[in-house]
Amino acid sequence: MEKSFITPSRIARVSALLVILLVIAGVVSILTGTAGIGAARVFRGIVTGWREGHLALDPSERTILFSIRLPRIIFAGIVGAALSTAGVVFQALLRNPLADPYILGVSGGSAVGAIIGILLGAGAVPFGIPALAFLGAVLTVALVFVIGSREGGLDSNTLLLAGVIVNAFFSAVIMFFISTSSSADLHTITFWLMGDMSLADGNKIVLMTLLLAAGSGVVYCYARPLNLIVAGEETAMQLGVDVKSTKITLFFAASLITAVAVAFAGMIGFVGLVIPHMMRMALGTDHRLLIPASFLFGASFMVLADTVARVVFSGMELPVGVITALCGAPYFVYLLRTRRM
């Protein structure tokens, strides 16, 4: 019985393991690429550099490793962590194993925002497109809440249906824009819709880190109430949770986290659906462990997925959303067929 209690030390152990995994994923990723900078060469450079007090690498190699690949790896990690954390929260709040971070209309709303940005040439302004995508996402979640709330509270099923309907409506809007836009814009739009990691830079990373830290911090404070809500809303009330305010806080925190990821990286599917499932199967349903584990494992998964997207076809990059969907959908089918969720 003793080993079954969730303790801070168990959470720390699991997290430490997943941090190691994340570091390994990062190292593999930074050494992988089409520029052909071999691992041996980099290690020799670092080891020699250690002795001589500077990195024994060419300036061009240094640029590729630390100004191109490294920011992109951090960017991918942030996006993966954000989507997986938001996925855990949405699945728990809606008590629906099929919920993903986009379920309340965040995807449709941010896409419409981003497309309007692309068509208006907002790409020329710093943070122009992400800002519009973020705005679109936030406005849409607010709209879904207005549609989905009944007197007395937020019913999960009503909210879910409101999200589905709003997303469907926005799909039509997106189709309208796509069918009427020029081919140059079309390429940008398509890439954005499928998830794009190629535009990482330092400012973005700082901004995203701050927003993600704030959102995840709020989410983690509610980890134990979230366990109780999963057990049933009336049960949670009987056990002392103010369900209504907890749900509203968590829906907004998780939507903010999702909006951050979507605004900067576009639509990347399946991560927020599959990673929480994998972690839940491995570690159980206690969110005090499940939230940090999903955060870290989601980051590792996205780093590796983006690495594959960078190198799988020589000479061109795939949108990372293609990779996550190609891995995620079959895995999900496997889950459906072999286990009960």
Partner: protein, 268 residues
């Protein structure tokens, strides 16, 4: 001083009255049964006492403080509820369910400490669920699940336990086992219990007093012998029953008189 005091409570769902002029007291250490037909307001009463529904009029107080306006956390330290069998989408282990009972006693980021674990261990011993600790809830039988939920209620260390048709999905063996366990906790630990049930015989056998509800009003409230009578049951349930004394304990026992009994024979 009564531990639960319900005074002049009215409650309605939109335009349907669910409770009218309900007033009663429950003594500390009492086992009160609440019976009545479907829609008579039994479950509404439980939810009003627990503060999940706010009454239109009237006051519910537990241990001298009014429930209305209290934070959920404070209510959960006074009142625990054992629900009907609950199904969950994501399964928890039995131990995790019982640990949830400590939740109202913990701060936001606080983990269960040694004293909480000790309380949980004792709650699981009392309900004979220690051996189920690491089993997932959906691998347990209905009877085992209900015992785990009792353990959770005990871990809450409440003043009062409310039972909301807890035996609705149990077979007779487990029904008797459930009420036997509640009765033992009531006698040995002085736990105050308010039990809503459909089973009139169980209520008569285990409760100190029984409350009979009809259309949201208290029809009769008293010891089982006063409440469970042929006249009362006919008036409230509109069903003919035979009430006799249980030969084992002398408590009232009802037999439903079917309108077309299969085994009946005409006297020859």
């Amino acid at each position: 001083m009564p531990i639960v005091k319900v005074s002049d409570v009215d409650f309605r769902y939109k335009d349907i009255w669910a409770l009218r002029d309900v007033s009663f007291d429950v003594r500390r250490g009492e086992f009160l049964g609440v019976i009545g037909p479907n829609g008579s307001g039994k479950t509404t009463l439980i939810r009003v006492i627990d503060g999940i529904l706010a009454p239109e009029k009237g006051v519910v107080s537990v241990s001298g403080s009014a429930i209305r306006g209290m934070r959920r956390r404070d209510i959960a330290r006074l009142i625990a509820v054992v629900p009907q069998d609950s199904t969950m989408i994501f399964s928890f282990r039995a131990l995790e369910i019982v640990l949830m009972g400590r939740s109202p006693h913990l701060g936001m980021l606080r983990f269960e400490g040694e004293s909480d674990r000790e309380i949980v261990r004792r709650a699981m011993e009392m309900t004979d669920t220690s051996s189920l600790a690491d089993r997932s809830m959906d691998s347990l039988s209905g009877g085992e699940r209900q015992r785990v939920l009792i353990a959770r209620a005990l871990a809450q260390e409440p003043e009062v336990v409310l039972l909301d048709e807890p035996t609705a999905f149990l077979d007779i063996k487990h029904q008797v086992e459930f009420f036997g366990l509640m009765k033992r906790l009531n006698r040995e630990r002085g736990l105050t219990v308010i039990a809503v049930t459909h089973d009139i015989n169980l209520a008569a056998a285990y409760c100190d007093r029984v409350m009979l509800l009809k259309e949201g009003r208290i029809h009769t409230l008293g010891v089982p012998g006063e409440v469970v009578t042929e006249t009362n049951i006919r008036e409230v349930y509109e069903t003919d029953v035979l009430v006799d004394a249980n030969p084992l304990n002398g408590l009232p026992r009802i037999t439903v008189l079917s309108s077309n009994p299969v085994g009946s024979r005409k006297p020859v």
